[in-house]
């Protein structure tokens, strides 16, 4: 049976009860990407966080937004597009996943090179930790150094420290001109990608198309954006890199969907491992939130 807490208090009670009973929980955003991370204990009871959705606060002039964690990337995109803005989060995977899961897994996307990783875009959170405490670190303003940074700690913690229920994000104005090109390059695609990214008129995204990895040449998917004159100059650069054909923004949805699920796994030194274990004990002492997922 899947738990579906409808409000913050219920979620907190659920976690407190699980901790007391040593009952592991499996936090689920919208369930679009459950194969990332290590398997959670088989006896874990699923907890859907889909009740924590909706746009909570959006003042376009501030270029910030606060949304419920279950808000989909597609919703975030639609709401901000109405004000000619966007959030460069656009994670690998697609637009059907939730903002909360994107932050919890710190999944970047093709715009991370230009606009930053999830940790660079998230301003504040509301979350419930493994002791049932509701935490509200960070804020909704674009610069904030008040207190120790629980926002960065929770971002990429894969639901193993807290269940994220609300997220405040940084937005950007949509560029006046925005073009996507497919560029056929000869030789080393990674070198071509690097040259474009390091150029004066660098694209906001530049990815090697995966289908071409075995071909003699490679194709790059390139997005250039800015004011009209900038994009004109950037287009000249792109054409110099190889044969360029116009594409459309839909190509980005496709390439994002083709990416493999992210994973928190990586080597840690003994001291880093000890710190990680210490963090887990500090925020989820009963080890009930997604146990084992970071292993």
């Amino acid at each position: 049976m899947t738990h579906r807490p409808a409000a913050l208090g219920e979620l907190s009670e659920l976690i407190v009860g699980a901790a007391a009973a040593a009952q592991p929980l499996r936090l689920i955003g919208l369930g679009t990407w459950l194969d990332g991370g290590a398997p959670v204990a088989a006896e874990a009871e699923p907890v859907s966080l889909d009740a924590f959705g909706g746009i909570i606060e959006y003042e376009p002039g501030d270029l910030t937004i606060t949304v419920g964690a279950a808000t989909t990337i597609a919703e975030l995109d639609a709401v901000t597009a109405a004000h000619n803005q966007w959030c460069p989060l656009a994670p690998w995977g697609g637009d059907g996943g939730s903002v909360g899961a994107t932050i919890a897994t710190a999944t970047p996307g093709p715009y991370a090179h230009a606009f930053g990783l999830p940790r660079d875009l998230v301003l504040g959170l509301e979350c419930v930790d493994g002791t049932g405490k509701v935490l509200r670190p960070g804020g909704k303003v674009v610069k904030n150094v008040a207190g120790f940074d629980l926002v960065r700690l929770m971002t990429g913690s894969w639901g193993s420290l807290a269940a994220i229920t609300r997220v405040s994000l940084r937005l950007r104005a949509r560029p006046v001109a925005d073009q996507t090109w497919i560029v056929s390059v000869e030789g080393d695609a990674i070198a071509a990608q690097r040259a474009l990214r390091h150029g004066a008129t660098s694209p906001i995204a530049c990815e090697v198309l995966p289908s071409d990895r075995t071909a003699a040449g490679s194709r790059l998917l390139v997005r250039i954006a800015g004011n009209a004159r900038y994009v004109e100059a950037a287009r000249t650069t792109v054409r110099q890199a190889g044969h360029a054909e116009p594409s459309d923004a839909g190509a980005w949805t496709a390439i994002r969907a083709s990416a493999p699920a992210p994973s928190p796994r990586g080597a840690l030194s003994d001291v880093a491992r000890a710190l990680n274990d210490g963090v887990k004990r500090a925020f989820d002492p009963a080890n009930v939130l997604n146990p084992g997922i970071m292993a």
Binding site: F148, L150, A233, S269, A272, F283
Partner: protein, 496 residues
């Protein structure tokens, strides 16, 4: 052997200070008004020496405060009867990798020194606190420092790739991924947690930071306004139009007056109610369209005049007044309260009006000089701490301004850190459970609470969690004493 003798054995006799007259230098940081004297000060010359010092301090169970150049504006680097660990001798730039656009540096490297070293490669270190000619990268890391150009390029957090850290107990760990892009190879984002931890989580021995390509072209504009409200509205209009300037700074009439009557005079119009300093940079292509866009928006919002500077010398002159504004305020009065609140950008006009009201009601002189594009206010109040009446009025005004910023959905510090000075506002901003969680995180890095005790989170929120066998206070810094600046009464915080 005493602790001092052990430390001398590591760093040499001349690099341990114990005499009161020598320690006097270290009793303040960049924020006048707080004085705390360390028990001794020790200055290692290398990462190895620094690590040996940290281990010696651990062996003696000695509390300590790490310090860079002491330019901080929150009282964060003050050591109250405990050891001060100065890191400014660790000033080696270990390597610059122009291909990967990163640099490996020791924590005592001065911010602008790295930019100078990177310039032959067409690169620079982007975060540029106003103290960049003096402040160290280790201090920047500890405070998550900002600066005018963070509007476009991001704060320190966004530019640190990895840090090799001595934990307070003497263990060494590399946080982040030296070969990566600012995210652990695995595990939690402990680098993100460490950046801005104000010296409470350990001592950085080495940093790997990103270098940013120099823009092809830079244009600086100075727009002057007869109304501060017009200037504030212009700020929102520029950002709203989709132009992201490299920097967007505001100075009010009081600040302009202080700057123009100092040696840092930049030629600002002294009769203006406010000036905006706007810098647009990037690729040459299309840049002039953004410059014209900014100029048009300024004029449409009532700017009397817009000066455009493209030559480095002319641009530097426009910037000089802004970068030296805090120093210029030193001419007005011996003490200065420096605020660092951030509000949502659209609330700036209302907040500036409210700050003016609060200043008038308390008969204090508020000088506003700030990062308008980020909504990061610096309402500064020069005062004389020996005048009890004035000090009390300054204190009252300060609390009211901070409360107004919190009420507007803002925060109490955007780039200076909490240190001692803003402890009193923490419980108006965060719930008790959130503050407790911050203490839990600190205890992972420093369970004995020996690194910069009594800072960032009010002591009372950490008491209940104190591990067994440790004494109840964090050094001599109790919450009451820690919150008290010279001439000001003990502070009881603000309540939202």
């Amino acid at each position: 052997m005493s602790l001092a003798a052990h430390l001398r054995a590591i760093v040499g006799d001349t690099h341990v200070l114990e005499r009161a007259a020598e320690l006097l230098v270290y009793e303040s940081d960049g924020l006048p008004g707080y004085h705390r004297t360390p028990s001794l000060a020790v200055f290692p010359a290398s990462a190895d020496e620094a690590l040996a010092v940290v281990r010696e301090l651990a062996r003696h169970d000695a509390k300590f405060v790490a310090r860079g150049a002491g330019t901080g504006l929150s009282g964060g680097a003050l050591a109250d009867g405990i050891v001060l660990l100065g890191l400014q001798r660790l000033k080696r730039i270990i390597a610059i990798d122009p291909e990967r656009r990163v640099a490996r540096v020791e924590p005592g490297v001065v911010n602008v020194t790295l930019t100078k070293a990177a310039s032959p490669y067409g690169l620079h270190y982007a975060p540029d606190p106003s103290s960049q000619t003096a402040c160290t990268l280790g201090g920047n890391l500890a405070e998550n420092a900002g600066g005018p150009h963070c509007l476009k390029y991001g704060v320190t957090l966004n530019h640190v790739v990895a840090a090799r850290v001595a934990l307070p107990d003497g263990r060494v760990v590399t946080l982040g991924d030296e070969d990566g892009d600012g995210r652990e190879a695995g595990g939690y984002d402990l680098l993100g947690a460490f950046v801005g931890s104000e010296g409470c989580f350990g001592v950085a021995l080495e940093l790997t930071v990103k270098l940013t390509p120099n823009p092809e072209r830079v244009v600086t504009l100075l727009a002057d306004f007869t109304s501060i409200d017009d200037a504030a509205q212009t700020t929102s209009a520029i950002i709203g139009a989709g132009i992201l300037p490299a920097a967007l700074e505001m100075m009010d009439q009081a600040t302009i007056g202080a700057v123009e009557s100092s040696i840092y005079a930049a030629g600002y119009p002294t009769d203006a109610a406010a000036v905006l300093l706007v810098e647009v940079d990037g690729a040459a292509a299309g840049l002039d369209d953004d410059v014209q866009g900014v100029e048009r928006i300024c004029r449409a919002h009532g700017a009397r005049d817009v000066r455009v500077a493209t030559e480095p010398a002319a641009r530097a002159r426009l910037w000089q007044g802004r970068k030296k504004a805090f120093g210029a305020m030193g001419r007005i009065a011996p003490h200065l309260v420096v605020q660092d609140a951030v509000v949502p950008r659209t609330k700036l006009p209302a907040l500036l009006a409210r700050i003016a009201e609060i200043g008038a009601a308390n008969a204090v002189r508020v000088c506003n000089v700030f990062h308008a594009g980020d909504g990061n206010l610096h309402p500064n109040i020069p005062y004389d701490a020996s005048d009890r009446d004035e000090a009390t009025r300054v204190h009252a005004a300060m609390k009211q301004i901070m409360q107004a910023c919190i009420d507007a959905g803002g925060t109490i510090t955007g780039e200076h850190g909490v240190g001692l000075d803003k402890l009193q506002y923490m419980d108006a901003l965060f719930t008790a459970d959130t503050l407790d969680a911050m203490c839990r995180l600190r205890d992972v890095f420093d369970p004995a609470r020996r690194a910069n005790p009594g800072k960032v989170v009010p002591v009372r929120y950490c008491r209940e969690r104190r591990p067994k066998g440790l004494t109840a206070d964090g050094g001599r810094q109790t919450a009451d004493r820690a919150n008290t600046a010279d001439g000001l009464p003990p502070q009881d915080g603000v309540h939202g």
